[in-house]
């Protein structure tokens, strides 16, 4: 499994270009999350892909060839902070509710909705933590689940920032006239 982060133009069609590229390279995407950045013109993607290092290089380099992709970077081998968020609706009656609450406390999850027959649990953290909670909730009856997919960030001073706006283009334009 390889993790890539990409900064892309925040406009229609870009997600399609990115996912279509992975499809063309026959790379299966495990999760892809997109969200705006502090600059609303730029969105950040975290792409988790079923591929090896060579496939990730190809995906990274091919992504960067897309006009709307500002940066693509394979961060798999770097020190990462990874987060996934899940909402899990689990059936809960009067008898098992205390037991359920214990488990939720252990996993440092939160109850965000309470109904007579069910609870919605919100949990965030590394993927295996959520998988672990899910495992112990299963016997109670998981009715519904929604997960965001992973977001990743390199730790500490290892910064991955979008390039600053520059007046690109005009200085290159002299090379595109009909006689090269």
């Amino acid at each position: 499994m390889q993790t890539l982060v990409a900064y892309v133009e925040n406009k229609p069609g870009v997600l399609n270009r990115v996912s279509s590229l992975a499809r063309r390279l026959a790379i299966n995407i495990d999760s892809l999350t997109v969200g705006p950045t502090e600059n609303e013109a730029i969105a950040r993607m975290t792409i988790v892909a079923h591929t090896d290092e060579r496939g990730a290089h190809r995906l990274e380099a091919s992504l960067e060839k897309l006009v709307d992709v500002l940066v693509a970077e394979n961060i798999s081998t770097r020190a990462l902070l990874e987060r996934d968020l899940a909402l899990i609706k689990v059936s809960a009656d009067q008898q098992n509710r205390p037991h359920l609450m214990e488990l939720i406390k252990v996993f440092r999850a939160r109850v965000v909705d309470v109904a007579p027959e069910s609870l919605i649990i919100e949990v965030s953290g590394a993927v295996d933590k959520i998988d672990g909670l899910l495992e112990v909730l299963r016997p109670f009856g998981v009715l519904e689940m929604a997960r965001t997919g992973r977001i990743s960030m390199t730790r500490g001073g290892d910064l991955l920032q979008p390039p600053v706006e520059e007046s690109s283009g005009s200085e290159l334009e002299s090379t595109v006239s009909n006689v090269k």
Partner: protein, 570 residues
Amino acid sequence: MKLTGAEILCESLTRLGVREIFGYPGGAILPVYDALGKSKLHHVLVRHEQGATHMADGYARASGGIGVAMATSGPGATNMVTGIATAMLDSSPVVCITGQVSSKVLGSDAFQEIDITGITMPITKHNVVVTKAEDVARTLREAFLIANSGRPGPVLVDITKDAQQASAEFNWESSVPHLPPKRRRNNHDQAEFDRAIEMLNTAKRPIILAGHGIMVSGAMRAFEQFVRTGNYPVAMTLLGIGCFPADNALNLGMMGMHGEAWVNNAIQEADLLIAVGMRFDDRVTGDLRTYAKSARKIHIEIDRAEINKNVKVDAALVGDAREVLERLMPHIQTCDHSAWIRHVAELKGDSAVRDIQSLPDNGHLYAAHVINDIWKETRGEAIVVTDVGQHQMWEAQYYHHNRPRTLITSGGLGTMGFALPAAIGAKFAKPDSEVWVVVGDGGFQMTMSELATIVQEKINIKIAIINNGFLGMVRQWQEFFYDKRYVATPLVAPDFAALANAFGIRGERITKRAEVIPTIRSARESAETVLIDFRVEQEDSVYPMVAAGASLSDMIRRPNSPLVETATEP
């Protein structure tokens, strides 16, 4: 100054240096055609939109500039798909402009509405929909910038009808390209660079694999210096042909599936491959597990995505071929590889004896002879545009190109039907050059309607149909790998000379070797297009051949007595 989107489009094209547009009108692009009529741009009316894209592609490849194709929405746009993909696979800078239904009805399945940007997403370098007249000039400048920068490729600009009709303020100076900022990558890792220098200066059996990128970056002079200093033998890819003179002693010829036997053997024996502007296509490498096992590999390539894609290399120098070669030059020691070069010459062995050129006239007409005679008669100075198949490989083997951009052929996609329209485009790019089409009877029948375009435009090209009555390359595979079961490869064709006459073009039919040169001469003397139908040997094959997926060392060679082997009638 207020102009309509359509007028802005024409004005922008003019300012970008465009002279000719290859296109076909229709409802959703009519406002543009109306503006075209008032502009100085010359519109070439094609007979099928695929032809328009191939013409733009041929124009781009012959000139090094950008070719422009135009079509209406829906079927006009979808007919362009094969031509766009052809340009994509061969990194050819083509800008396609399509009309689109009005933005108000987008997504409603309106008449002749199709999502052409969706369709062409994987086969364009970039594509974009324009829905506002004020965006036309900037978008077009961006399209031209993208098409011919870095690794070139096709760009499609889809303009809605209302954007063509609406008026907007036209200000060229302020319509500057505004592309997303890209992170600048450090492509010149010093350690990698030093490693490459070390390999270049210590190799005993080096060989250069020269590709299309040398031409694209205009690196011919730097490359020639590099080769001369290092004394490296040069093998060419199909699209690399012309980037280094065929008559240079260090030029070995073409590599790969139908490359020369000694070239492939030299690659297999080399201790260093220096790949410049090529991408280790499967037609070049054969079986990767057995490819150049004893060689270290340096890859000079502008596209980072090509590095280690097919062949794992020891040093990757990412960048423009000319820039990288010029950076390497001061560090290259003058090397003496004469022992190795002598050895490569010895590898030629009996190739000359096996060569079909050595055959005496046995009453049969061979394609290789026809092509070699065209080479001799044109003194190797013509622009030759080929289609795809056996004749294409014979052209690569028997027409010796000394100058860049004189062989125009569909390499990556292998698009039959490419030759005739691409030659028309090439002729517009180089009106003073002699242009020859070398095409099979199969591929010619795919796009022969463009003969009418030739007549309408009054252009002068020479068309050599290598007519063997078969889809020859497929037949050859059936002969070698399917026990001569010729399913769907025998091909009925019209009388091409009579067909040419019907279009108002002079047509000739040649069946004997003695008639070849006089007919070529007479065609060359004509100021008009001439079509020559060469009825060649029906079951001749291209040799040598590396079967698909076989090792490069494992070549099927021309039988020693081809007279017996190939002189059969079906």
